[in-house]
């Protein structure tokens, strides 16, 4: 391990390692975390490499403290991240709401495992999709990304930091155990090809730091800006105002609006074979890996499968799913949970076509291409 970023080239990397290296490429120089399977490798990798790059990696007493320290470091002017799995992600929800409310850029990684509760700690799952959307209390709009390869662990964590800086908000990278522990090829591009976004700084002390525009500038600490940061309802200057309904309305609508208004710019997805498809599949994360294969298997059975693979889960890529629904006769939503994103697909596409769930939980067992094919044939025929 060198005291610099990996040179451009092809590496054989575990998903978690690729993510940790990607965070360093993104400019992350503060990491705080608490050990948890299957996310611990991120903390271990960064414990070793972060100080070599002049950054700080610290193991905290719990997940709340981890995200709290990340938020402090972010206000201190440093790009910061934490990583956990479902149980820790549950504990972080209070601070996720706080980061959203205070418009603090932060990276939050959740490597999903089989829940609820301690569940099957070492086994993969996709059960935190709705927690990532609605986990904290009150109205909010998170940005949640879903990688499906080691390569994307590297790439999407950079996207996550860029989005966090651009929109002054926490960004969740929702991966799963299979992607996190899989080892495969990762291509590190020339460093100059990686574009980084930095938070906007205020031009004057009079500018509001918590309003005025959709994404207000974030002032640095210790330079006399007299920043008042609070998780309570506050006016555009950060001053707590908890009695005025209009101030809360304005704040909540702006915070949600700054993400939803820019959804088109934020959302990333892949689409395959949308023209002339019989069956459409909407998938994300490890489950999406089986879809590439089922497209071929179905073709042999004279069924054309169209596919939308979500890299962004929230805000939900409605337009892409609608387009698939317009082309396909039925939609199938395979997930390693007992129906979560299915409901969102049904909401968006249900009026256009029939949407069917395909679910599997337990033991981290993947939904195989054969199982997907059987479901396609059962629902569509062919």
């Amino acid at each position: 391990m060198k005291n610099k970023l990996l040179e451009p080239g092809t590496y054989f990397m575990q998903g978690n390692e690729a993510l940790a290296e990607g965070a360093l490429f993104a400019g992350c120089r503060f990491f705080a975390g608490y050990p948890i399977t299957p996310a611990s490798e991120i903390l271990e990798y960064l414990a070793k490499k972060m100080p070599r790059l002049g950054g700080i990696c610290i193991q905290m007493e719990d997940e709340m403290a981890s995200l709290a320290a990340v938020i402090g470091a972010s206000w201190g002017g440093v790009k910061a991240m934490t990583a956990t799995s479902g149980p820790g992600f549950s504990l972080m929800q209070e601070l996720i709401g706080y980061a959203f409310m205070t418009e603090t850029p932060a990276g939050i990684v959740d490597i999903q495992r089989q829940g609820p509760s301690t569940g099957q700690a070492t086994k993969g799952a996709q059960g935190d999709v709705m927690q990532s959307r609605w986990g904290t209390h009150g109205d909010y709009m998170p940005i949640v990304l879903s990688p499906n390869s080691s390569q994307e662990m590297f790439e999407l964590v950079i996207d996550a930091f860029n989005l966090a800086e651009e929109y002054r908000t926490p960004v969740i990278l929702l991966a799963d155990e299979a992607i996190a522990h899989m080892r495969e090829k990762v291509k590190i591009p020339p460093h100059s090809a990686i574009k980084l976004v930095e938070r906007k700084r205020p031009k004057s002390r009079e500018e509001p730091f918590f309003g005025g525009k959709d994404v207000p500038p974030m002032p640095p600490l210790g330079e006399g800006y007299w920043i008042a940061v609070t998780g309570s309802t506050h006016n555009e200057y950060g001053i707590r105002f908890t009695a005025d309904p209009e101030i809360h309305r304005r704040l909540a609508q702006r915070l949600v609006g700054k993400i939803s208004k820019n959804a088109e710019k934020i959302i990333k997805f892949e689409e395959f074979n949308l023209e002339n498809c019989d069956v459409g599949i909407v998938a994300y994360g490890c489950t999406s890996r089986s879809v590439y294969e089922v497209i071929k298997l179905a073709k042999e059975r004279k069924v054309n499968v169209g596919f939308v693979r979500l890299k962004t889960i929230w805000p939900f890529p409605e337009e892409a799913v609608k387009k698939l629904a317009e082309n396909a006769e039925i939609l199938i939503v395979p997930e390693m949970n007992l129906k979560q994103l299915y409901y969102e697909v049904e909401r968006v596409a249900g009026c256009k076509t029939n949407v069917f769930p395909l679910n599997k939980v337990g033991g981290g067992e993947m939904i195989t291409p054969e199982e997907m094919l059987a479901e396609i044939l059962r629902r569509f025929g062919g």
């Binding site: 705080a32 709340m64 440093v78 205070t102 600490l221 210790g222 330079e223 008042a228 940061v229």
Partner: protein
């Protein structure tokens, strides 16, 4: 700089929100005088963190300063994140006993153990005041609160003793009647390299006094006066004799390399490829 002391140097033009007779006014006065006497004329070198509760409102947003008002109990890890990336700033936490010794106790202990170089002021009014006067982990035995209508059945936590034991570099406890001593301790705490902690027994006439049977703020401060005993004096008494006392004074002063300096050294040690492997 011979500018005369004025609270206006350090406060926003906002009305403080505390009840008449609240101990927070004394705490603010002592603290502002302490920083003034240390030579500061504004809060440019400071960042304040606080959690939830009346004491957490001392800096946020009333201090003309950078202040971060965090969720309940989380002020210390937020302060730690700031201090580690901005070691040149004085990072100061204000919090109540519920915030720091109830929901946030684990963070408080670990910050002291790690010797994070921050300063923590715990305003101990022995009650959850903002929520209406419920029992706290610091409430004396047998006192009545809204959730101990028959008297508190649990023994209080001696937070200062715990924090001194787990590795803090400076720990002191006073009450709001010990103004001069408190101000001096606040100065020492700010100057301490390493984790420093000052506990301040403070009167809450509205939510504590009312239920515990004190008719005025002065009755509570009189009670503080009667119960207070200096730490040096306390050594002559038995545990039984001390059961009903508030031990005040400095509990510990020690030197130990603070965490931000340890991390600086770590970066130097980790740097380079010689640790290949």
């Amino acid at each position: 700089m011979s500018e005369k002391f004025s609270q206006k140097m350090f406060l926003r033009d906002l009305k403080l929100p505390f009840c008449p007779g609240c101990g927070n006014y004394s705490v603010i006065n002592c603290f502002l005088r302490a920083v003034y006497e240390l030579g500061y004329r504004n809060f440019k070198n400071f960042v304040f963190c606080s959690g939830i509760g009346c004491a957490a409102w001392i800096p946020s947003p009333y201090f003309l300063a950078d202040s971060i008002h965090t969720p309940h109990g989380r002020s210390i890890p937020v302060a730690m994140g700031i201090k580690l990336v901005r070691p040149e700033l004085n990072v100061v936490v204000f919090g109540g006993d519920g915030d720091l010794a109830g929901i946030g106790l684990s963070h408080l202990i670990h910050a002291a153990r790690r010797n994070v170089d921050i300063t923590v002021f715990m305003i101990n009014n022995q009650v959850y005041g903002m929520t209406g006067g419920q029992v706290a982990p610091t409430t004396f035995l047998n006192l009545r609160t809204t959730t101990t209508p028959y008297g508190n059945i649990e023994r209080p936590l001696d937070v200062s003793r715990v924090i001194a034991d787990v590795g803090a570099c400076y720990v002191a406890r006073w009450t709001t009647i010990h103004r001069e001593e408190l101000k001096e301790s606040m100065k020492r705490a700010i100057l301490t390299e390493g984790f420093s902690f000052v506990e301040i027994l403070s009167q809450c006439p509205t939510m504590f006094g009312r239920h515990a049977g004190f008719k005025s703020p002065a009755e509570i401060t009189k009670w503080f006066k009667e119960k207070s005993i200096l730490v040096e004096e306390s050594k002559k008494l038995s545990e039984q004799e001390l059961a009903d006392k508030i031990i005040v004074g400095e509990f510990i002063t020690r030197k130990f390399v603070p965490l931000s300096q340890v991390l600086k050294g770590l970066k130097e040690r980790a740097g380079g490829d010689r640790n290949e492997g």
